[in-house]
């Protein structure tokens, strides 16, 4: 009887999870999705806990309390730190899957070897390999995003890197096959930790050669791995709720990773294995190019005359903490009846959708946040394109310069606007490794200075000057 009730609860939870994600398709219903997800989780936990084989309750309560104690502070991090938090939670997810797989293997190999069927062994090996590699890989990713000192930020490469990584994975695969064939052999409990260690090591090695620009893709891939490790756990435990929820997570990670790859014009393999160690070579030689600088007053006047202003934010805006000043500028321009839109490139920010969240936090209505494909057709009608902290995503070299590392990447057509203002911290060219041709266009005027200060000055100019006109 209780078994039937448990299955029924799992069924309800599955349905609620599906609806939770379905409601995420528009901001208007998205919060409903969270409530559905919470309800599903409570039902699933309660049903599991009520099962007769659960007899020790103290440890469960303690672990749950500890989870709350860590989880609540983790949910209050600043929004610029959300990518790290996300990577960290992938690590937790991977760890949980790995530990449950390990526990089940040792349990069954000591008291119930008949449970270790071929199918189960394949599932267990998949679960622990995915789980543990997600654990260390995500920790590395979180460390890189947090800019922890002892984790190298730059891609680390060495000769035969791909080959040695593959060899590691190969050894793990051989050990896994051996275990699957003879799960009850005397040596089996000794071989199992070898696979764990190899998976942990592989996770680290997989992430160290990946540079900061690829982090959004990597986070999405790790998301998919964490989901798949939950699926594998479902196969091990014969639990369909784990399989459905894990599959939802896995497909989400996959889709986000594909979107990120497309936005950078790269393939999966290229992100994970291809571009190892290709340090961007700055072009040497060429004629000396000069920037044209504009004053705050001049820029404010041009902005006042505009009908359509498109602001193109990049992560540099968030680094300078300029979001709220940008919002004030938005208000000032709106007050004059000027249409203001934000052009958001898919890889703006450090994880999928990051820039939207940062702007939403600054109270900018999401109806004015436009995707690249939606805003590009309007760019020729745009009077002023204001580039704040973005660089590669507006570099026209991506369209034609085959030698550029970003060649082929879809970009926001800032150069097609009538006037371009770009805010840049220093006059030094090649700050970000590659020169941005946009900055040398005859329509482009540079505003030098810290993004927050420059926008703040613009706002002051607009609010002070408005009475005189």
């Amino acid at each position: 009887m209780i078994h039937g009730l448990v299955q029924f609860s799992y069924l309800i939870a599955t349905g609620l999870f599906v609806f939770a994600l379905h409601w995420m398709n528009t901001p208007a219903t998205a919060r409903r999705g969270v409530y559905a997800g919470v309800a599903a989780m409570v039902i699933a936990v309660a049903a599991t806990w009520a099962q007769p084989e659960v007899v020790h309750h103290v440890w469960i309560i303690l672990a749950i309390l500890a989870g709350f104690a860590v989880g609540v502070p983790l949910s209050r991090v600043p929004l610029t730190a959300v990518p790290q938090r996300t990577a960290l939670s992938h690590a937790f997810g991977g760890l949980a899957a790995g530990l449950v797989g390990t526990a089940k293997f040792y349990l069954w190999s000591s008291e119930g070897p008949e449970n270790l069927t071929t199918f189960r062994m394949i599932a267990i090996i998949t679960e622990i390999v995915l789980g543990y590699l997600t654990f260390t890989g995500s920790l590395m990713a979180a460390g890189k995003l947090q800019e922890v000192k002892w984790i190298p930020q730059r891609p680390v490469t060495y000769p035969l890197q791909n080959l040695s990584n593959m060899a590691l994975l190969g050894i793990a695969a051989v050990a896994g096959i051996a275990l699957t064939i003879a799960p009850t052999a005397a040596w089996a409990p000794k071989v199992f930790p070898v696979i764990i260690v190899l998976a942990l090591l592989f996770g680290v090695l997989l992430i160290i050669p990946i540079g900061g620009a690829d982090m959004p893709t990597v986070i999405a891939i790790l998301n998919a791995y964490a989901g798949l490790s939950a699926v594998a756990m479902g196969f091990v435990l014969d639990n369909k709720l784990l399989i459905t929820a894990g599959a939802l997570d896995g497909s989400s990670g996959l889709i986000l990773a594909i979107i990120m790859c497309k936005a950078m014009n790269r393939s999966f393999a290229n992100v994970l294995f291809g571009a190892f160690g290709q340090v961007q070579q700055a072009k040497i030689g060429g004629e000396q190019k000069v920037y044209k600088a504009e004053t705050i007053e001049g820029a404010a006047q041009v902005l006042e005359q505009a009908n359509l202003v498109v602001i193109i934010p990049g992560y540099g805006m968030a680094v300078a903490q300029a979001q709220h000043k940008v919002r004030e500028l938005y208000d000032q321009l709106k007050k004059r009846g000027i249409t203001v839109k934000f052009a958001i490139h898919a890889v703006a920010g450090r994880m999928p959708g990051h820039m939207n969240v940062l702007l939403a936090e600054a109270d900018i209505p999401y109806t004015d946040l436009m995707e690249m494909d939606d805003i590009n057709p309007d760019m020729p009608q745009c009077d002023v394109a204001l580039v704040v902290g973005a660089n590669d995503v507006v570099n026209p070299a991506a369209r034609y310069d085959k030698s550029s590392p970003i060649f082929g990447m879809p970009i926001i057509d800032a150069d097609r606007a009538r006037t371009i203002f770009a805010i840049k911290r220093s006059k030094k060219p090649g700050f970000a490794g590659i020169d941005n041709e946009l900055y040398f266009s005859e329509k482009t005027w540079m505003l030098f200075g810290d993004a927050k200060n420059v926008i703040g000055e613009l706002v002051k100019q607009l609010s002070g000057g408005s009475g005189l006109h």
């Binding site: 020790h56 989880g71 939670s89 958001i344 994880m351 959708g353």
Partner: protein
Amino acid sequence: MARRIVPSLMAGLLVVGLAATAVAQQAPAEAAAVQPIDYWSLLFVFVLSSFIGLGIIRRVSRLLHTPLMSITNAISAIAVVGSIIVTGAEYPTPIRIMGAVALFASMTNIVSGFLITDRMLKMFKTDHKQIEGGRS
């Protein structure tokens, strides 16, 4: 309109399918010590729910991809279900310790995942009032 119905329909199909397997599993007596796993039904569930996932996620607004990743994080922490059994059942202590750590890790994901998703979603506003206030 059809695009709205299709995912709901697929979800409905999955629920019916799962219900059928749940009922079917009721039928055999619970006496057998080792119940053989019906891998095929597990694989079916996996493949079908992946298709549902792909169909639904593809339609999630790009605005919400960061909250989406946070909520799927919380959802995949459903591993909590496995951890509760490993922690709470009559198993040797080392096994239960592993379970407790896994339970802690999943619980952290559930709590922080749902809370941060809601916190981010609260920020997404159409802001009619402020815009109109600004114009006047």
